[in-house]
């Protein structure tokens, strides 16, 4: 059986109408939980890549991969977690920081190599890209300043090239 683990799965699909609905429908129909799902075109515009983060033990994961492989639109399914891979997520946080706190926000942000992308009279927005751990740590650091809104993309991932 194995323990319940988070898996990052890369699903290459034909860039057809309704593919996203079929893939997400499969997860809901079979009761698998999706932590995040990201989709976009690849270097070949006829192929899209979905990066899906799911949780499950070995058996559930194998079922997810097998069931995805049954979808006619699916070209390939790769469990990135089996090997070394790089994942990134982007988050934008709108902070209602008072003028006096802004420099402090920018200071923390610079440690995370986050960028200030919008500055208004009552709020500022910072953007950070990184692994899940880094993004979560950054969100925690921003919390005391007063987060007004937060948006994250979900993970995209790619396998590391062999050394």
């Amino acid at each position: 059986m194995g323990e319940v683990m988070k898996h990052t799965i890369s699903v290459l699909v034909e860039n057809h109408f309704g593919v996203l609905a079929r893939v997400s429908g499969l997860f809901s129909a079979r009761g698998y939980n999706i932590d995040s799902l990201c989709v976009g075109e690849t270097e070949d515009t006829t192929i899209s890549r979905m990066t899906v983060v799911v949780q499950g033990d070995d058996r559930v994961l194998q079922q997810i991969i097998n069931q995805l492989n049954k979808l006619v639109d699916v070209i390939d399914v790769i469990d990135l977690t089996k090997d070394v891979f790089i994942d990134r997520e982007l988050v934008m946080i709108k902070i209602g920081a008072a003028n006096s706190q802004r420099s402090e926000v920018i200071e923390v942000a610079s440690i995370f190599r986050a960028k200030t992308v919008d500055l208004g009279a009552a709020a500022m927005t910072v953007e950070v890209t990184g692994s899940e751990g880094k993004v979560n740590a950054f969100i925690d650091m921003m919390r005391p300043f007063g987060i007004q809104e937060l948006v994250r993309t979900g993970k995209v991932a790619i396998a590391r090239s062999p050394k």
Partner: protein
């Protein structure tokens, strides 16, 4: 799927200008469609017009059009056609309600791996999403049910889409494919190509791998090592054997090595049911001897079956003495899904069995003591039922009918007690003669499926063994039979209610027959059949002349209807309760349980309804 690069003669109509609807018809004709089941309507009118014109222009190559009372009926007819023939069943309906009426049969086909292609009309492209008249989100709805769905948004892809749909429906693990065609796409005028498929790189690759999949030498060696270590091997064969047309290989395999076979509900007919090697159906309402054999076997050889909950109610305790379990399936996702196995092969059952037969040429194992044991079980724990009293017993009727047809009739059913009795008490000599809604368990399946089967096999005697509940669900199709002179024999086993539901209410719900008692219903089925034009419509109420009436019924030229008033208290036994293992099987009053194995006494304590499924 065939690739465009293959050298094939040019289509005689290639380059001809025609409408989308005409292209659809031409591709259907190219794919060998001889019967379309369907119902017209606004958004599919151009295609129905094309059917009419096609038949006008091809007096010698007519495409038969069977119009049902309800689209659900049409789609089940296509399913019955596919099940009886192994060819792709074809159904064409209109948008909106026409399409949504087909959701149940499409899901039914998916659950039982039946190849059908359904074309649904859709509102014109510019109206999609506007809540237009008779608009329904067919793509979304069918996505959740079908093997694949197309919405033809680019008219230039229409022709290739229809061709591709057939290829997908019949390849790999077969299934239903839906094509949603906007009305303006049916009306567009374009050049017919006569060739070409849509590309599905992953699917094509996987199909190519499946087609090339062979049992390797090493794998076969490990299989025969398991077999050599086994004293009590048992084959567990399912619908996959029927789908891959592997019955002959299965029979040869079983005979060559002397291994008995149990079949699932979907696998009935894979073996000649009267053969000594066939232990008949296993599972919830399987024969006691099949289930005992599963309990006893030490090597379970699974072919095209999937350990579903009606077979393995408690997977951990299924085949508890099997040291090895082998699994051959065309669907990789089925291997290890429910039960872990020790040997597996993903591929076509027919080829896999041929490979194993070849690899086992010199295998010298002898399982005759075990075979004797199995045949002993078959004798000692045979099916049995109430033989006394004045009431007609359903098992007796089915048994007599099967004797009259010598096991060569095509039998379709609804869902419930009558379905299980038909599975238990009919003999089947050939595959594709037992046609039932297995996984979905759709009541109302029998009547339309029988019409479809008869269209596929005009030579065969086709009998719909139905129940009063199931028959009511698609009763309108009685008229379809007489209108089209489809000589199906409809045998209604009437027990004035939903018998299987009643059986469960009796066992688990303290005899509270909520919603299942129909003794106050007013329907006179014989009059209904007469009103629909049946010239043979009779009712049997007593035990005299059963055989003569059954014979007249079968021998009647043309559609025939026979209602048999059966004992409303007849139950289906054996029974393995839901979620239980075979050791908890109850055999009822008339079947002898195993004496050497303490049979748990069935008490009527209530099981919480939440434990049911």
């Amino acid at each position: 799927m065939k690739r465009a690069t293959e050298k094939r003669p040019k289509h005689p109509l290639a380059g001809k200008s025609m409408t989308g609807a005409d292209m659809i018809l031409q591709v259907l004709a190219d794919e060998g469609v001889d019967t379309i089941f369907g119902y017209s309507g606004g958004a599919i009118l151009p295609t129905y017009d094309a059917v009419f014109r096609y038949n006008q222009e091809h007096p010698k190559k007519q495409v038969r059009l069977i119009v049902p009372a309800n689209e659900q009926g049409a789609c089940f007819m296509a399913a019955g056609y596919a099940r009886a023939s192994g060819r792709v069943g074809m159904c064409i309906v209109t948008s909106g309600p026409g399409a949504t009426n087909c959701v149940t049969p499409i899901r039914d086909c998916m659950a039982d791996s039946i190849p059908v292609v359904l074309i649904t009309g859709q509102v014109p492209r510019q109206a999609i999403g506007s809540d237009a008249f008779q608009e329904a989100p067919v793509f979304s709805v069918m996505s959740a049910c079908a093997k694949h769905v197309f919405l033809v948004s680019n008219e230039k892809e229409l022709e290739a889409t229809v061709r591709t749909a057939f290829a997908i429906a019949r390849s790999g693990r077969p299934g239903p494919v839906v094509i949603d065609v906007p009305k303006d796409v049916q009306n567009y005028l374009g050049e017919f190509q006569g060739d070409g498929y849509l590309r599905f790189r992953g699917y094509e690759k996987r199909q190519a791998a499946l087609s090339a999949s062979r049992v390797t030498k090493e794998s076969a060696a490990s299989f025969f090592k398991m077999l050599a270590h086994s004293k009590r091997p048992l084959i567990y064969a399912g619908g996959g054997v029927i789908n891959s047309n592997a019955s002959q290989e299965l029979r040869t395999f079983s005979k060559r090595f002397g291994i008995p076979v149990v079949t699932t509900l979907m696998g009935i007919g894979a073996m000649d049911t009267s053969s000594d090697l066939c232990l008949n159906m296993l599972g919830m309402h399987g024969t006691a001897y099949a289930n005992y054999a599963v309990e006893d076997c030490d090597f379970l050889i699974t072919v095209g079956a999937r350990f579903d909950d009606r077979v393995a109610g408690k997977p951990a305790e299924f085949a508890p003495n099997a040291r090895n379990i082998a699994h051959i399936d065309i669907d990789a996702a089925e291997i290890g899904k429910v039960k872990s196995v020790t040997w597996a092969h993903t591929g076509d059952a027919k080829i896999a069995l041929q490979d194993l037969l070849h690899a086992g040429k010199n295998f010298a194992g002898d399982f005759s003591p075990w075979l004797r044991h199995a045949q002993n079980l078959k004798k000692k724990h045979a099916l049995n039922y109430k033989k006394t009293g004045d009431l007609l017993q359903p098992q007796e009727i089915i048994h007599q009918l099967s004797k009259l047809t010598k096991g060569r009739a095509i039998v379709t059913t609804g869902v419930g007690q009558h379905q299980m009795w038909a599975a238990q008490y009919s003999e089947f000599v050939e595959p594709r003669t037992w046609i039932t809604s297995g996984s979905m368990g759709t009541m109302g399946f029998g009547l339309p499926a029988a019409i479809g089967a008869q269209c596929a096999r005009p030579d065969a005697v086709v009998i719909d063994i139905d129940g009063d509940g199931s028959l009511r669900m698609n009763l309108g199709e009685l008229e379809t039979m007489t209108t089209n002179d489809i000589p199906v024999k409809v045998l209604l086993l009437n027990n004035l209610g939903d018998g299987m539901v009643r059986q469960w209410q009796n066992l688990y719900f303290g005899d509270r027959f909520s919603g299942s008692d129909k003794s106050m219903h007013k329907k006179d089925f014989v009059k209904a059949a007469e009103a629909d034009g049946f010239t043979f419509a009779r009712r049997l109420t007593g035990k005299s002349d059963v055989n003569a009436v059954l014979k007249a019924f079968i021998d009647h030229k043309g559609p025939a209807f026979l209602e048999v008033m059966i004992d409303p208290n007849a139950h289906v036994y054996p029974m393995v309760g839901p979620g239980l293992s075979y050791k908890d099987m109850i055999t009822g009053e008339y079947i002898t349980p195993r004496a050497d194995d303490e049979t748990p006494v069935h008490d009527k304590t209530e099981v919480p309804a939440s434990a049911m499924f």
